[in-house]
């Protein structure tokens, strides 16, 4: 049994806070897997409905492509701008980082505005038919994620002010928001593909 009990040699990972290693990004990534599965369930439901449930006569399910395509571009660009914000923050250029964050917020809000315009110009409502219900459920659930994301970036932007809690040395909030924002963008790309293009 001499191998069972040995004294500890403490070698903690480099990124530490109050003596505890920081696994928050890992935890967030696991949560995003779970969140992604929620979307996967919605996607599976939508694709099955589409495959086996015929729509009633005269139901419209061909969507205009222009606005959602612009929206897709807006979101993809916002992912890029957020990435730039992260790079700037990690290299200590906080003012530049905040400008990129502000641009990301603007793009997110523009996306939500585009979504609203589309909602009000669509010829069908939530309960019109199965396609309409699924369309609003999917885009609405995603829109909720974008809204939360914009609020998160706003908070990060505020915290990154001079003397704020986010700096070159401590930027977990910014990284978490960035990971989440990329996730929301990725979900939109899939959603755009199966909802508008398919």
């Amino acid at each position: 049994m001499d191998t069972s009990l040995q004294p500890v040699t403490t070698a903690q990972p480099a990124s530490e806070e109050h003596g505890h290693p920081d696994f928050r990004l890992f935890g967030l990534a696991t949560f995003l897997v779970a969140d992604g599965m929620t979307f996967a369930g919605f996607f599976a439901a939508y694709l099955t409905f589409r495959a086996v449930n015929p729509l009633p006569e005269g139901a419209i399910y061909e969507l205009e492509l222009l606005l959602p395509t612009i929206n897709t571009v807006l979101l993809l660009v916002s992912s890029f701008t957020f990435h730039r914000a992260g790079t700037a923050c990690r290299s200590g250029r906080m003012q530049t980082s905040r400008r990129w964050l502000l641009l990301s917020i603007a793009l997110g809000i523009a996306f939500l505005a585009g979504q609203m315009v589309e909602y009000f110009s669509l010829p069908f409502g939530l309960t019109d038919n199965l396609f309409a219900s699924t369309f609003y459920a999917l885009t609405g659930f995603h829109g909720l994620h974008v809204t939360l994301g914009v609020i998160c970036i706003l908070i990060v932007w505020f915290q990154a002010r001079p003397g704020g809690s986010i700096s070159q040395d401590s930027h977990f909030g910014l990284e978490a928001a960035e990971l989440y924002w990329h996730f929301v963008d990725g979900i939109w790309v899939i959603l755009y593909g199966i909802l508008y293009l398919l």
């Binding site: 049994m1 069972s4 403490t10 505890h20 599965m37 009633p56 309960t127 199965l130």
Partner: protein, 555 residues
């Protein structure tokens, strides 16, 4: 936040003594006990509801409670037992208490998230139970809440049910994230994955299932609530919707949910048996691969619940084969437990009795499970009492027996006192006889066509239903010696000492009950948690570790 450190808080602000069990404590041991006690209280409620069901079914006519009330009772019974008793206790209680010890940590990876996950449970449970009194009627559509039934029963109760299950699902996901991070990231330096006690692997597999499957149920229930409140038609055939899609999404979670209830039980039994048989766990590596195989297969078998839902032939074929395959890893685990016991110096105490009864019950439930995976047989017994019998052999005969075994095994760790063995054996005998008397006849009833979830039945079934009800009464009585034992022993039981079982797993290598941060000094590095053997000193650890399937178990 990983930074939460109980010792950093003002000592005067942290409640001490029993009050900390009612506080937002961040200590994983306190949270584990909170889960256990809270779950047990809900078990008593769910058991009382089961008593109502068996009393009603003691006679063929609906003469004890009304039909609607019967439907509410069976819905609440199923929901409480699954979401408020078994899932929180096998995962939350024992997982939280043991996993940090097993990985050599002082707490879980996210202590604050851990406390939030627990404190979602009492309000969710009270919400569920209160719907019976406040909303006019509790949910009546069974724990499966199949539409269109769930769309036509009283809406308020159904919505409260959905809210409650969403809260419980959230709690479960938070717990799962925490376990994955703790097992994978918080291991003590020097401790390898393949050196972890088996329960860590069981919790890792369970948590993967929780994180992948639970969100799908959440999304589905949100869609169902849209159907109820906003009158969308996702699952409403009269509005062009599709009920089978609900069933697919529901079972995508709810079949893995069976593994979420039983995999941790597998892990707990794998901890209990080696200690009391004084032998290494047989076939460690095969055990690990079996758990992971069950995780993977468990995600692709859900449609075996839907063989009568118009599933196409290819789907029936696929899901029959996939389901039958699960018997392979499960069988490996079964034989590993037998081989662990084989030739051991078995201490036949309450923990071992319950563990052995678990093996007995579970193999029976497993055999009926393989039978149910076969389409022709399943179509014959679908929605009959055969399924009820099978299911209870898995979740009661499997998980609940293991919860009791674990209670007898780890009670000295929780409290520093030993439970009374005579009362423990009385508890075991009553539970084992009562359980088998209650659920074995239900297989016969189901084979003869008695449908489940109906308050009335053909008078030809009366005798076996009365036998079943007597068994349920015995199970209710069996709770009394357990309750007396746990309460009296907590104050007046014999002092156990730190390691009454002479166990080698890390939770026993500290005082009982353990200090706030688990160890006064450094955490011990336990690379050989099952190094029990007959040659003290100087033996070949590789040979007795059970890690090499072909060389172990021969001695």
């Amino acid at each position: 936040m990983t930074v939460a450190n109980p010792l950093e808080l003002e000592p005067g602000l942290q409640p001490q003594g029993w009050l900390r069990y009612l506080s937002f404590s961040l200590d994983h041991k306190v949270i584990g006990i909170q889960y256990l006690v809270c779950g047990f209280l809900f078990y008593l409620v769910g058991g009382a509801l089961a008593g109502v069901i068996r009393t009603e079914l003691a006679s063929p006519m609906s003469d004890f409670v009304g039909r609607d009330t019967y439907n509410e009772v069976l819905t609440l019974h199923g929901t409480i037992m699954i979401f408020l008793w078994i899932v929180p206790v096998v995962n939350g209680a024992f997982g939280n208490y043991l996993i940090p010890f097993y990985v050599g940590a002082r707490d879980m990876a996210f202590p604050r998230l851990n406390a939030v996950a627990f404190w979602l449970i009492p309000p969710a449970g009270l919400l569920l139970i209160s719907s019976y009194f406040l909303a006019g009627a509790a949910s009546q559509s069974g724990w499966t809440a199949y539409p269109p039934l769930s769309l036509t029963t009283p809406a308020a109760g159904q919505i409260v049910w959905i809210l409650s299950v969403l809260l419980l699902g959230g709690s479960s996901i938070f717990g799962g994230i925490n376990f994955i991070a703790t097992v994978l990231k918080l291991r003590r330096p020097g401790l390898k994955l393949m050196q972890l006690p088996m329960f860590c692997w069981a919790m890792l597999g369970t948590s993967i299932l929780v994180v992948l499957a639970t969100p799908v149920l959440a999304g589905t229930l949100v869609m169902l609530s849209f159907d109820i409140i906003a009158h969308t038609g996702f699952f409403n055939p009269s509005l062009g919707g599709n009920v089978v899609v609900y069933q697919h999404l529901f079972w995508f979670y709810s079949h893995p949910a069976v593994y979420i209830m039983v995999l941790p039980a597998f892990g707990l039994v794998s901890e209990i048996l080696p200690v009391h048989a004084r032998k290494p766990l047989f076939g460690y590596t095969t055990m690990v691969y079996s758990i992971m195989a069950i995780v993977v297969l468990g995600l692709v078998v859900w449609a075996h619940h839907m063989f009568t839902s118009g599933t196409p032939p290819w789907m029936r074929l696929f899901f029959t084969i996939a389901t039958s395959f699960i018997a392979v890893p499960t069988g490996i685990k079964f034989f590993n437990w037998l081989a662990t016991l084989w030739g051991g110096k078995i201490a036949l105490n309450s923990a071992v009795l319950f563990s052995c009864a678990f093996i007995f019950n579970f193999v029976f439930g497993g055999i009926t499970g393989v039978a149910l995976a076969q389409v022709p047989f399943d179509i014959h017994v679908h929605d009959t009492y055969f399924v009820v019998g099978h299911f209870h052999y898995i979740v009661y005969g499997g998980s609940v027996f293991v919860i009791f075994a674990s209670l007898y095994h780890w009670y000295p760790k929780f409290t520093g006192r030993l439970l009374n063995e005579d009362l423990g054996r009385l508890h075991f005998v009553l539970t084992f006889i009562g359980f088998n008397l209650c659920f074995a006849p239900q297989h016969w009833l189901g084979l003869n066509g008695m449908p489940r979830r109906v308050a009335e039945y053909d008078p030809a079934f009366t005798t076996w239903n009365q036998v079943s009800s007597v068994g349920a009464l015995l199970m209710a009585i069996s709770t009394l010696p357990l309750l007396i034992n746990v309460v009296v022993t907590a104050f007046r039981g014999p002092v156990a000492g730190d390691n009454p079982w002479n166990a080698l797993t890390p939770e026993w290598l500290t005082s009982s009950p353990p200090p706030v941060e688990n160890w006064i000094g450094e955490a011990p590095l336990v690379t050989e948690p099952y190094g029990y053997g007959e040659h003290p000193g100087g033996f070949d650890l590789d040979r007795i570790s059970g890690r090499d399937l072909w060389s172990s178990g021969k001695s």
